[in-house]
């Protein structure tokens, strides 16, 4: 074996990529050639320095939460859209037009009666769930990403007409992730983002003229929504975290702000 051959094989040799008999030849050569042995030593020390100094990055919980949420969404969309045969193919044009007219009149009457009866909180709640799902898509979770409330709170100055409470709850198992601004119920509102294990918790708040009322918890589409009207402010908490732990979070949030 020449030194040139040996030097060329040193990489595969230390990486365990050589066959046993090839490795044996290198080993033999290294015993007798001080130059190649020094090169081998240098290479080993470089890779061990790299391995010792470079850090692996475990995927953060918030990333896992976003991926989990995103994986659930497309499936839900697919199952919600079954294959449809166009209506006019089944019944023919004239009757389709007549039927469409009837449906139009009926559905607008229905829409009217449904919206008239639906409490205002309902539309806000579904807006909030949409906002929560949107927040889990890439690049939408935070406008300001920080686990320090002294970075998150001032960021809202001049951006929304109220300064949200940003209590630190990481020692209680709910680390702060950051904040953003969303558009809910016709206004820009501050959103504070916390996590619990692999679940994202969005906290929305805006001023209102209600008095203190007991919190209301509701669930839909696998999300829990807690509504807390208090002291001229409405607080909404949205997450796919289970009810019990989200309730704990709500109590901590209110107690610490």
């Amino acid at each position: 074996m020449t030194c040139a051959d040996c030097l060329e094989s040193l990489g595969p040799y230390i990486d365990g990529e050589l066959l046993a008999n090839e490795a044996a030849v290198i080993e033999e050569h290294l015993k007798t050639c001080p130059d190649c042995a020094a090169a081998h030593q240098r290479l080993v020390s470089t890779t061990s320095r790299l391995r010792a100094a470079l850090t692996r990055h475990p995927a953060p919980d918030v990333l896992k939460a976003r991926i989990r949420a995103a994986l659930v969404q497309p499936v839900a969309e697919v199952s919600a859209a079954p294959k449809r045969v166009p209506f006019y193919r089944v019944v023919g044009w004239p009757s389709a037009i007549a039927a469409a007219a009837v449906v139009a009149v009926l559905s607008s009457a229905l829409t009217f009666s449904v919206t008239a009866r639906r409490p205002a909180g309902e539309t806000v709640r579904s807006e909030l769930i949409s906002s929560h799902i949107r927040s889990l898509m890439p690049g939408h979770l935070t406008d300001v990403a920080s686990n320090d409330q002294h970075n998150v709170k001032p960021w809202f100055n001049g951006r929304v007409d109220m300064s949200p409470n940003v209590p630190r709850l990481d020692s209680l198992g709910f680390p702060l992730v950051g904040g953003r601004i969303d558009y809910i119920d016709g206004r820009s509102v501050p959103v504070i983002v916390y996590t619990r294990r692999q679940h994202v918790i969005n906290v929305y708040s805006w001023p209102t003229n209600t008095t203190n009322e007991p919190p209301v918890t509701a669930s839909s589409h696998g999300y829990n929504v807690i509504h807390i009207p208090r002291n001229g402010e409405e607080l909404w908490i949205v997450s796919d975290l289970n009810r019990a732990e989200l309730g704990d979070f709500a109590r901590l949030l209110v107690g610490n702000s």
């Binding site: 990055h57 990333l63 690049g139």
Partner: protein
Amino acid sequence: MAEQGTTRFEQVVLPHLDDAYTLACYLLRDQHDAQDAVQEAVLRALRYFDGFRGEDARAWLLTIVRNYCYTWKKGRATDRSTVAFSDTADHVADVRATDDLVIQSTESERVKAAVDALPDELREVIVLRELNEMSYREISEVVGVPIGTVMSRLSRGRNRLAEALGADSRRAG
């Protein structure tokens, strides 16, 4: 059916999320960009999952993550309408990293800066080999080049790092 597909996908692909995120962090050099890129890449992986034949899930996922990271970088470069010719960019990175090396004291910061200063094609093989501990065959699959090219890039990368780090410790000592 769709439900089952997602569950199998989760079992096969999600265990390699740490490797995927590590690679993205070193390719994009920004943890928030890396999170967004990995999430987007995983969703792409789900779309291509039918084409996965069940050989090496890690190499398969990292291929998608790597390609997406480069698409992401290219998109960013044109977004900012910078004239980012790779030679110029590498040169600038080299100068900055050299300055950093003088200032930075800890070993791990120095090594990290030296790795960051490598051109993409050398940095990716170093990360895949030294941090993700992949075989040459796996690296060749992820990067899409022959094993011989993996070998020579790895060797060039290590030589450059040995030079950068060796020169620096002499200057410090």
